[in-house]
């Protein structure tokens, strides 16, 4: 595989390496193990959700309801734990809960062909306000002691969360490149009609990807809930934007069909590191959001800047053929 195909990922990686280099020069303390572990812990949930979001965006759709799904799954995790279920049961149940939530969006977008931005906007509001109505805003408290850190020591629990995240990441990245199912995601996002003619229905792929997205949200919520002794009912605020931003910064085309999970990892790392880096560099952390916004814009601008060039190439590699020359305007009169 040539490097040229990964120029978007490469430029994001370049930006991240520059950030790390600057930190190494001005604030080496940034690299102490405790800080790196905190960074990893704080970004594990975003990472898991950004994996799902990459798949959703690759199909050419979007899911902005993941933050609300996250809140529902978090409370569900608390309830299941409080009901006395063992951790080994809570985890799969929360994942199923997430899959169901994702499936609702997947059915509306995939099966009924409604626009995903509107469907998931509606679901975003519906899940969150439905949750507020049911919980009346109350947090889940008095969780059994063995729920936090899954009953392990804190350090072991943290290790587990990071390990699970890494395994999911590696498996998804491998499957996306090396299973037909993964290639089908690229195909429908690249050209839905060409995919249909090749026997791949976009609606089925989109449904499956939304369900998977929900399952990942469930996993992220369950892992995240275990970090604290109480469970909030308003979790996951703005999580959808963090995930989408990371995917876009990682070089995935918002129109679908192009992008990799490698890029998404870099996007999560870059955006997730900025805030802490600012603190270590002695800059007012209020700048964090502005800088993140600027990074997203730069990423999108490079996408737009590359586009006319691509089109030019397509039309001018062989100037004699930039139009289909012999599609005759009448039939059969030629000789």
């Amino acid at each position: 595989m040539s490097l040229k195909r990964y120029k978007r990922e490469a430029s994001a990686l370049g930006a991240y390496l520059i950030l790390l280099l600057v930190m190494a020069l001005i604030a080496p303390a940034f690299f102490n193990p405790g800080n790196l572990r905190d960074l990893a812990m704080n970004n594990a949930a975003v990472m898991l959700i950004a994996i799902g979001m990459t798949l959703v965006i690759l199909t050419g759709e979007i899911d902005i309801s993941v933050g609300s799904q996250f809140a529902v799954c978090t409370v569900a995790a608390g309830w299941f734990a409080k009901a006395g279920m063992p951790v080994l049961l809570v985890l799969p149940l929360v994942i199923v809960t997430g899959s169901l939530l994702g499936g609702v969006g997947g059915a509306l977008v995939g099966r009924l062909r409604m626009p995903s931005i509107v469907v998931t906007l509606a679901l975003m509001v519906a899940w969150r306000d439905g949750l507020r109505w049911i919980t009346e805003g109350a947090w889940v408290q008095n969780l059994p002691a063995d729920f936090q850190w899954f009953g392990f020591e804190q350090s072991d629990g943290q290790f587990l969360i990071i390990a699970v995240t890494l395994i999911v990441l590696l498996v998804s990245a491998w499957a996306l490149q090396n299973l037909n199912a993964g290639r089908a995601i690229y195909a429908v996002g690249s050209d839905a009609e060409a995919a249909r003619l090749a026997g791949i229905e976009k609606r089925s792929v989109v449904f499956a990807v939304f369900v998977l997205m929900g399952a990942l949200v469930g996993l992220a919520a369950a892992l995240n809930a275990a970090r604290f002794s109480i469970v909030p009912s308003n979790g996951g605020m703005g999580l959808e934007l963090k995930a989408i931003a990371a995917v876009v910064v990682g070089g995935t085309a918002i129109t679908g069909g192009r992008g990799t999970l490698l890029g998404t990892v870099i996007g999560v790392a870059l955006l997730g590191t900025i805030g802490t880096a600012l603190t270590f560099a002695g800059i007012n952390p209020f700048w964090e959001k502005s800088i993140q916004g600027a990074i997203i814009l730069v990423a999108l601008m490079s996408e737009v800047a590359l586009r006319p060039f691509d089109r030019w190439r397509k039309n001018h590699v062989n100037p004699a053929n930039h139009v289909n020359p012999v599609k005759l305007f009448f039939t059969g009169f030629t000789g």
Binding site: S190, L197, A198, V317
Partner: protein
Amino acid sequence: MLLRAIDISKSYDGVDALESATFELRAGEVHALVGENGAGKTTLIKIISGAVVADGGSLELDGVLISENSPGRAKSLGITAIYQEPALFAELTVAENIAFGVDNQSLWRRVDWTKRRHRASELLAEVGARIDVDAEAGELTMPQQQLVEIARAIGAKSRILIMDEPTASLSREETENLYRVINKLREQGVGIIYITHRLEELSVIADRVTVLRDGQVVGTYEMAQTNRQELIRLMVGRELSTIFPKRKVERGEVALELRGVSNRATGLTNVDLSVHRGEIVGLAGLVGAGRTELARIIFGLDHADGGEIRLHGKAVRINTPADAINCGIAYVPEDRRRQGVILQMPVSANITLASLRQLKSLGGFDFQLEKQIAGDYVQRFAIKTPSVFSPVSTLSGGNQQKVALSRWLATKPSVLILDEPTQGIDVGAKAEIHSLIGDLASEGMAILMISSDLPEILGMSDRIAVMHAGTIVGTVDRADATQQQIIALALGGRSQAAA
């Protein structure tokens, strides 16, 4: 019999594309489909390949009914199609694009990248293409994309292979290579459906030929027992004079004049053209010869980088469509549904869209006047619509085209450019639009009519300008124009000797 398509019917927006067409394919034959544009060839093969669902009729493979045909089902039955427009994934590599047609696609199967690339190079070598299998398909040229499609179809090891103008953009060498591959497949017992516009190909490659005309099958013939002249007669099958009542109009002074207009990006070079008041100039040429590109420049959608445009004897600068409208130029575009009308908007708003300025009033927008103007056009052109407030989407294609035309006449133009004014319109509405165009010319309008419908060009035009490869290669007067002459010009000499 390998495949039998029985009594297939299909209509789009009330216009019949196919009317109970019956077609049979034997194993080990190359069966050509010929007919004019819009005769129904592509619709027929898309129904066979499952890309389009028929309204009526049935398909049988080995005498067994194919129920619920779809692209996936057709593929699993061994039916593969190459369409006119390459259906490749622009962001994916060539190897991967080929794999989508060839490989086992069960979802949890692992992709063997090495084998995939290897197989892709083999198939590309077989069709004689030198293409990097790791290149992105979107970066390939049109002929390269065509070759990738062919390689993919051959790799699918189908029982039925459908090719819609596979040689359209291929070089002579690549074409001969393709014939060799087709002959090999024929010997292996594959049934091949071959659509072409080049009749000279038929004697080389086809065993039988089926002629389609206006959505109906005229007949199926053994290639050995027919010839080019007879096929042409079967395809056209109508007299020109009965369809196009041409009125004699006194030609006025020059309204639109182009002097050396060029545009490098679209390949237009040194176009000279004049259209007089009261004159209909037909602009003929192959698709891609630059006709629409020229119209877009006159209308300010693209910009000339050389030459000048003169209106009524004065040079004008046209930078935007708004400039063009102010100069009295109107352009009815080719793609009616996407560019000609706004489907969801009512007839009235569609008609006044290009001339909103005249609807300004003290109270803001003059709805009364809008209704009145729209009503006038509906009456004048006999637009069949429940009311002027019905959305245009509820109208038939012919009536939609009349709405598009009304919009531009409401700007009171002196120069009217029509791009494929009757494409995809049924015969009755076509005649009405033709007589309308005649009326406009007799009122003194200068009309430039782009058309791929040769009888229409010959029947309607006072003069015919023929484009080839971005320039006008000849202008023919109505009295002297023959089909052969225009075809020869449109082909730009390449096939001139044979025509």
